[in-house]
């Protein structure tokens, strides 16, 4: 039922075309893997999907409706995890998580802060100021955010960075559980997270990659 698509997207940053005429589609319960070398535009595409950037051409649709025009309802539907972790080091782990759960505006009954902490094995750290967290613990706290309040679309930028094997497993099963509930996921990653079906290779759409090839041919 839910469908998330992008048509002919072109994105310019700093007067440089990052990618052009990019098209993608994610169906219900599907995961789209974004692949490409460093600097190819994966993070850029995710920010575009989230609505933080505007494409210069093309559009992004949720169930056939433009996400830019229905920004307010659309923002209800998504969770975004970027490179930066949005963690305030003076607040405790729990305070950090609770704050974002509250900001999501989701019905308190549907939130599950405790469960999310439990899931990512952060419960024993709940009352620690976030400053003391190790790199992987920070990342887990950031990931716990997407489980603490429900939203159908997850946009994840290299979520497995600095995670240990066990946590990668937790992340993987969180994604699978989300899929089973009919959720949609777009994830940029350099690693194998699961047997991949739906892969978007961004370098196919980047100008600077294409142009030399054509020149050579």
């Amino acid at each position: 039922m839910a469908e998330f698509t992008g048509n002919n997207l072109t994105c310019i940053r700093g007067e440089r075309v990052v990618f052009a005429k990019l098209t993608f589609a994610i169906g219900e319960g599907e995961v789209l893997y974004l692949r490409g070398p460093n600097g190819s535009g994966k993070s850029t595409l995710l920010r575009l999907m989230a609505g933080l950037l505007r494409p210069v051409g093309g559009q992004i649709l949720w169930n056939g409706e433009s996400t830019l025009e229905n920004a307010k309802t659309y923002r209800d539907l998504l969770h975004y995890i970027g490179h930066q972790d949005a963690i305030k080091t003076v607040l405790t782990v729990e305070e950090n998580l609770t704050f974002w759960a509250e900001m999501s505006g989701v019905d308190p009954a549907k939130r599950s802060v405790g469960e999310a902490l439990e899931n990512f094995s952060l419960s024993h750290l709940a009352s620690l100021p976030a400053r003391f967290l190790s790199a992987g613990q920070r990342k887990r706290l950031n990931l716990a955010r997407i489980c603490a309040s429900p939203a159908p679309l997850w946009l994840l930028d290299e979520p497995a960075n600095s995670l240990d094997k066990a946590s990668v497993g937790v992340l993987r099963s969180a994604i699978t559980a989300h899929q089973e509930k009919g959720g949609l996921v777009a994830v940029a990653t350099h690693e194998e997270l699961s047997p991949e079906s739906n892969v978007l290779n961004i370098s196919e759409f980047t100008n600077n990659m294409k142009a030399p090839k054509e020149n050579v041919a």
Binding site: L53, R75, Y80, H83, Q84, L91, E95, G105
Partner: protein, 225 residues
């Protein structure tokens, strides 16, 4: 509406908590305010005549400087650690969130400043007839400063020479508040009515209340691009 309110208060709460735990901004502002006013007698010499004469001006200039000083980090940390992206992506209108942040900013910087100002007025030998008006003028003026400041704070995100820019952008906009604030107190000190000036200050507050959150929200969206 209920959801909005909840989100609104939880943002204010977080900001206040951050200010208290971290304190870099809020306490610094109050300290700074006190210091400007305390250092003056030290620098100028403690002649009561002169101090009395310049008391209203010193307090207002100190308030202005403190407000400006606290502005540049208002959105900066959120911008740097990615919180701003997430705030923009919450379903709530960004204007509301900006307003919440502004209120929190005022509660942690403007309010303490007002509370402490009678003490400082005493220190500067201000005549007691000015106290009431000083408080009223500060109560009307400091929220305006916070509101106007948010625009500057949002516009400079990611800019080069942001500190310089911030002062250039918001200081001119602070001047009316300063002028009417000082003249309200000065009028009271020479037993003239200071109601007209207070009314103007109120008008400035209303106008900036209506305008600033929108402008800042627009600027923040630009900054996240």
């Amino acid at each position: 509406m209920n959801v909005f309110w909840k989100v609104f208060t939880s943002l204010i709460q977080r900001e206040i908590r951050l200010a208290i735990r971290h304190g870099a901004d809020s306490m610094m502002v109050v300290m700074f305010f006190v210091l400007v006013v305390v250092l003056f007698p030290l620098g100028v010499g403690p002649e009561p005549g002169i101090l009395t004469r310049i008391s209203a001006g010193v307090i207002w200039v100190a308030a202005l400087l403190s407000a400006m000083l606290s502005m540049d980090r208002l959105f900066q940390t959120d911008f740097e650690d990615g919180s701003l992206d997430l705030l923009i992506l919450t379903p709530q209108p960004l204007e509301l969130l900006v307003l919440a942040k502004t209120i929190a900013h005022w509660l942690t910087t403007g309010l303490p400043l007002i509370i402490i100002s009678p003490l400082l007025a005493l220190l500067l030998n201000m005549e007691t007839s000015g106290y009431g008006v000083l408080l009223a003028a500060l109560a009307l003026g400091t929220p305006t400063l916070s509101l106007i400041g948010t625009i500057g704070a949002a516009l400079i995100l990611g800019a080069r020479r942001s500190g310089f820019l911030l002062s250039l952008l918001i200081l001119p906009l602070f001047i009316p508040t300063l002028i009417f604030g000082v003249s309200a107190v000065d009028a009271a000190l020479i037993d003239l009515p200071s109601k007209p000036q207070l009314l103007v200050l109120g008008g400035l507050l209303l106008a900036s209340f209506a305008l600033c959150p929108w402008a800042s929200a627009a600027a923040l969206r630009q900054a996240a691009e």
